[in-house]
């Protein structure tokens, strides 16, 4: 019974936490392809040899890794397996796994590597029962883990989502299976509004995950601005002011400089970038486009300007998305207060702070402002915080289906089509809450509507 496994799974296979080295494992038919995409490598890796490679995220260099390719069937699972040794930073590990998922891998379920090994006959058949036990216990303990985590607000959170979707599906199924009844059915606009509110609920939940993630792995904080505004000086000033965390990322091979500082328990990964310039000169444009990419990825953006500059000089290069940006008015030591306050007034719609990088004035206030920013992102006490990547991905998938459903509803597509995406969305929750059966939906219908001619 050789079952064709189509998915490629990915997971961290060394214990979580900051060790010197972490190993990420990929298994499945797309492992090799994923490794090539990850390392931007066009040639294939030769089996069973350790190779050096670099991982890039967007235009940014991420890490140097050692990569080993085990060709099927000569691997632990019997499938194509790639093992990636990277630096033991949670941040790097998460980003690499994120990338793999983006390229088409799915996060492995507990015990899934072992399970595949077994199914492909790599493990002694006589040990079948003990393996089954092992997997069951792993799944169950994972389940216990998540139910413990879910016991509080989390369980309620997911259950609420599930209830809402079931309610929506019932409304539509009612229309399809009981249209011969004397019942008024929900109008399309109502369905659309309800799907919309469901999507919003999920967004709120997903946001708690990205908060959890920045807390765990630090905020990516690039320093950008026009040339000579004092970015590098500020970078140094911040490193001088706060505790520097020795970065696990080797700095020698990059054209951006990255260091981490910590304040009040929050970690900021500062990046000194090339200058932003509104110019046509081609030599600079490569560096600039890299800076633009960096801006997009920023958790928090420090935009440095020279206090003596006038607004017109840099207005065009101020990033459009400003909710996560602080404008640093630098060189206060050599600018007269009147000019500074005039500029600050002109920038009143932004969050601004006046500093002198050179004289190290206002730097502490800046770091306080940065910490305040993180704290403001923190979900309120009552909110449940999403911590598991698998949960996050389930929600993300759910969102995609719900958006389909919403679009269909908007286009006045008939209910049986809308239901497909809603049922797919519901199935995303099944892994967290157990499977939903047709009876659950019918029960809901019979409970709420008077059926029967």
């Amino acid at each position: 019974m050789p079952r064709k496994i189509k998915t490629t799974i990915v997971a961290l296979s060394t214990p979580r936490g900051v060790g010197a080295i972490s190993i990420i494992r990929l298994s499945g038919p797309k492992s090799l392809e994923l490794a090539q995409k990850l390392t931007r490598n066009t040639k294939t890796f030769s089996p069973n040899t350790v190779q050096y490679a670099r991982v890039w995220i967007a235009e940014r260099f991420l890490d140097e890794i050692m990569l080993t390719y085990f060709r099927a069937p000569h691997s632990y699972t019997g499938e194509d397996v790639i093992e990636i040794s990277c630096h033991g930073s949670l941040y790097i590990v998460e980003l690499i796994i994120d990338l793999c998922v983006k390229f088409g891998a799915v996060p492995a379920k507990p015990g899934e590597f072992t399970q595949r090994a077994f199914l492909n006959g790599k493990i002694d058949l006589l040990r079948a029962e003990s393996i089954a036990d092992l997997i069951a216990s792993k799944t169950q303990s994972a389940h216990r883990e998540s139910s413990r985590q879910l016991l509080g607000d989390g369980a309620e959170c997911f259950q609420r989502l599930k209830k809402k979707i079931i309610q929506l599906i019932s409304t539509l199924e009612l229309e399809l299976d009981f249209s011969d009844q004397e019942i008024t059915f929900a109008p399309h606009e109502q369905i659309e509004t309800e799907i919309h509110s469901l999507i919003n609920d999920i967004y709120v939940l997903m946001k708690t995950y990205s908060y959890g993630k920045i807390v765990r792995t630090g905020l990516f904080t690039p320093i950008v601005g026009p040339p000579n505004s004092g970015k590098s000086s500020l970078f140094n000033a911040l490193l001088h002011e706060e505790r520097v965390i020795v970065s696990p990322i080797p700095g020698t091979t990059r054209d951006t400089i990255e260091e981490s500082i910590q304040k009040d328990g929050y970690q900021f990964r500062l990046v000194d970038t090339a200058g932003l310039h509104n110019t046509d000169e081609t030599i600079e444009s490569a560096g600039i486009s890299r800076s633009l990419k960096t801006i997009q990825l920023a958790d928090l953006l420090l935009f440095v300007i020279d206090a003596r500059a006038c607004l017109a000089e840099f207005q065009e290069i101020i990033p459009a998305k400003i909710s996560n940006m602080i404008i640093i008015i630098n060189k206060s030591d050599i600018t007269d207060p009147f000019t500074i306050s005039k500029l600050q007034n002109e920038l009143s719609r932004y969050k601004t702070i006046i500093v002198s990088a050179k004289e190290r004035v206002g730097i502490r206030e800046l770091t306080t402002l940065m910490v305040d920013y993180v704290k403001a992102q923190q979900p309120s006490e009552e909110d449940f915080i999403l911590t598991q990547k698998r949960h996050y991905i389930a929600l993300k998938k759910m969102c995609k289906f719900l958006k389909n459903a919403k679009a269909s509803s908007k286009r006045l597509i008939t209910s049986e089509m809308i239901v497909i995406d809603l049922r797919l969305a519901l199935s995303c929750l099944d892994e967290l809450l157990g499977k939903t059966t047709n009876d659950d939906i019918l029960n809901n219908i019979f409970q709420n509507f008077c059926i029967g001619k």
Partner: protein, 621 residues
């Protein structure tokens, strides 16, 4: 025991029994149908209608597999309507009012003239089993009869108990005796029994109804037949009449609840929630001040009407008083009172996927005896059991219908993987692959299987092959042929859409919500368009399969989620009890259901994905 050369004995002449006995006799097996009375063959004991939501799909599937129900209703129906017309075509369902006298006569005539089929008026009271294999039946008058297979289709007759108010008496339908003894014989052989309940409304005399106080409802002007063989379809169009209850009706009914067999706890069986009695509806949904009532003619020039929506088991005087409070029924005279019936059934998890009992080889159960409700469900199961009993005798592989190819497949699979809490009824929402399971393509989906078995006429199969080819060909053509910008914009302006620059493929054009097949048909080669015109609404069918390609693909995702384990078989003697990696609940459920495949196992409630994984691993041993 009388040694006979009967291959198959079918017990019961209801909708399941008819299809079962026709299937086996048509497949060349010598078949004996035993029924209380020949007159009652094909009788519609509840409402005079065939089809309806999801049930209409079943009827066309029966037709595609060579059953009789579709042809019978086409020949004897008196009003035809497609339900759900405002929804997508996949959930359209044909429904017809039947002339129940003609319907029953049609079936009787057919059965009497069927080769290989013999009919005996008698009552089966027990079965004979030897070494876990069925060897014969015992009938009251005729005595012991040997045979190779038995299909029980006894409907509500097993220990049937009718209730009207606090009175109850034994019977299967009103005026007909119930079958005693058979249940006990099955229990002795180790089958497990359950009890269900269903109900029916009163019938009233036509000339006592004041129709001017009601609204007439006719069928479609251009009716659709059920059968793929029916041509030149010109059925009558006899109306139903709509009226409704009012607070006064509800008060009267409420005051009678102290004499209700349901509310006083006399009835033990569980009734269907989708078909509650009127007293149930009023009790559970108190804020509703009115419920719709349909008066349905029982035959063409009926002198009796069926009060659909008014199923009740309250005492006769309460029924009468409540009816009189309804507009149009002020002076209505009751021809037959409404009643509830309790009956034995055999929970269907005891059956394998051929509807044969796991305990007794050669014994098949089909219809209400499995815990289903509805003529269409019964007929589907009867046909399915009849076919599989026959195939087994002919040493041929069984008929398997997958969930993603037919409603009958869903029906059978649901039955064998579920513990019924109420009579099972087909819903479109039970079919994962609903978008492609249309009533109009049952032939495309199933007729090749029917032909191979030997029941489906060659013409139905040939047409289905043509339809399949035509669909593929048309879509191929649409995808590979573009219109000039002028032609494109000409169409867009017809459907009031803003023009575009550049031409697009016909397929892309058809995918726009506003564009319909009619708009592009003139751009097909005349020969192709002529062939499309040969099948009714075929342009619409091409349109939906193009327009909703994306949805159909995502629908496939829902199907894939259960399909992956379908091919993995579990030995019937597999011992779940000592497997520590299964939860206790899973062990119990799996032992009870004895699933044949891992797919079935995964659909049993209480069996979790991690249980399925464990099983998957253990099955590799």
């Amino acid at each position: 025991m009388k040694q006979t050369d009967f291959d198959i004995v079918v017990v019961g002449g209801g909708h399941a029994g008819i299809e079962a006995s026709l299937a086996s006799s048509r497949l060349g097996l010598k078949t004996l149908l035993i029924t209380f009375s020949i007159d009652s063959i094909g009788r519609m004991s509840c409402n005079p209608a065939i089809g309806g939501l999801a049930k209409g799909h079943l009827v066309t599937e029966i037709d595609a597999l060579g059953g009789e129900m579709a042809k019978a209703i086409d020949a004897t129906g008196i009003q035809f309507r497609i339900l759900n017309r405002s929804k997508g075509r996949s959930v359209w369902s044909p429904r017809a009012q039947a002339d129940k006298i003609k319907y029953s006569l049609y079936m009787q005539t057919l059965l009497r003239s069927q080769n290989n089929l013999f009919i005996l008026e008698d009552c089966v009271t027990s079965i004979f089993v030897d070494n876990s294999t069925l060897v014969g039946v015992f009938s009251k008058i005729y005595g012991a009869i040997s045979c190779k297979k038995v299909i029980l289709t006894c409907g509500t007759f097993l220990n049937g108990l009718l209730h009207i108010g606090l009175d109850h008496f034994s019977g299967g339908r009103i005026g007909e005796k119930s079958a005693l003894g058979l249940t006990e014989s099955l229990i002795r052989e180790g089958l497990i029994i359950g009890r269900l309940k269903t109900g029916t409304p009163p019938r009233i005399y036509k000339d006592s109804i004041n129709f001017s106080n009601t609204t007439a409802q006719y069928g479609d002007d251009n009716p659709f037949p059920f059968s793929f063989l029916t041509n030149n379809f010109l059925p009558p169009n006899v109306p139903c009449f709509i009226t409704k209850t009012n607070p006064q009706t509800h008060d009267i009914l409420c005051n009678g609840l102290d004499r209700s067999p349901l509310y006083t706890g006399i009835i033990k069986g569980v009734g269907p929630r989708y078909c509650p009695s009127i007293e149930d509806k009023i009790f559970r949904f108190r804020d509703r001040t009115s419920h719709q009532i349909f008066l349905e003619p029982e035959w063409t020039s009926a002198d009796e009407y069926y009060i659909n929506g008014f199923s009740t088991s309250l005492p006769l005087d309460v029924q009468e008083k409540a009816i009189h409070s309804i507009p149009g029924l002020e002076k209505a005279e009751i021809a037959r009172p409404g009643y509830a019936v309790e009956y034995d059934f055999f929970p269907s998890y005891q059956l394998n996927s051929c509807l044969e009992t796991k305990k007794i080889r050669g014994l098949y159960l089909a219809g209400q005896i499995n815990g289903t409700s509805g003529y269409e469900e019964a007929a589907s199961l009867g046909l399915f059991a009849g076919i599989n009993a026959s195939l087994s005798l002919k040493n041929e592989p069984p008929l398997v219908l997958r969930r993603d190819e037919s409603y009958i497949g869903v029906l059978v699979d649901d039955l064998i993987t579920k513990s019924p809490v109420e009579p099972y009824r087909m819903f479109t929402s039970s079919a994962e692959y609903r978008l492609l399971l249309r009533f109009d393509n049952s032939d495309v989906r199933l007729s090749s299987k029917g032909l191979q078995i030997g029941l489906t006429p060659k013409t139905v199969y040939d047409n289905s092959i043509q339809k399949k080819r035509l669909l593929a060909e048309s879509i191929q053509y649409l995808k590979t042929h573009s219109l000039s910008p002028d032609q494109t914009n000409q169409i867009l302006s017809i459907v009031h859409q803003s023009t575009i620059s550049g031409g697009v493929t016909l397929f892309k054009l058809l995918c726009r919500p506003e564009v319909h097949f009619q708009n592009i048909e003139c751009f097909l080669p005349p020969e192709l368009s002529k062939r499309v015109g040969f099948f009714r609404d075929f342009g619409d069918q091409i349109e939906i399969e193009s327009k909703y390609e994306g949805y159909i693909k995502r629908n496939q995702l829902l199907v894939d989620s259960f399909k992956s384990h379908e091919g993995i078989r579990i030995p019937q003697d597999f011992n779940y009890q000592n497997i520590s990696s299964l939860t206790i609940e899973a062990r119990e459920k799996l032992t009870k259901f004895k699933p044949e495949t891992l797919g079935q196992a995964s659909r049993i409630s209480g069996v979790s994905p991690s249980d399925v994984t464990s099983l998957l691993i253990l099955l590799r041993k």
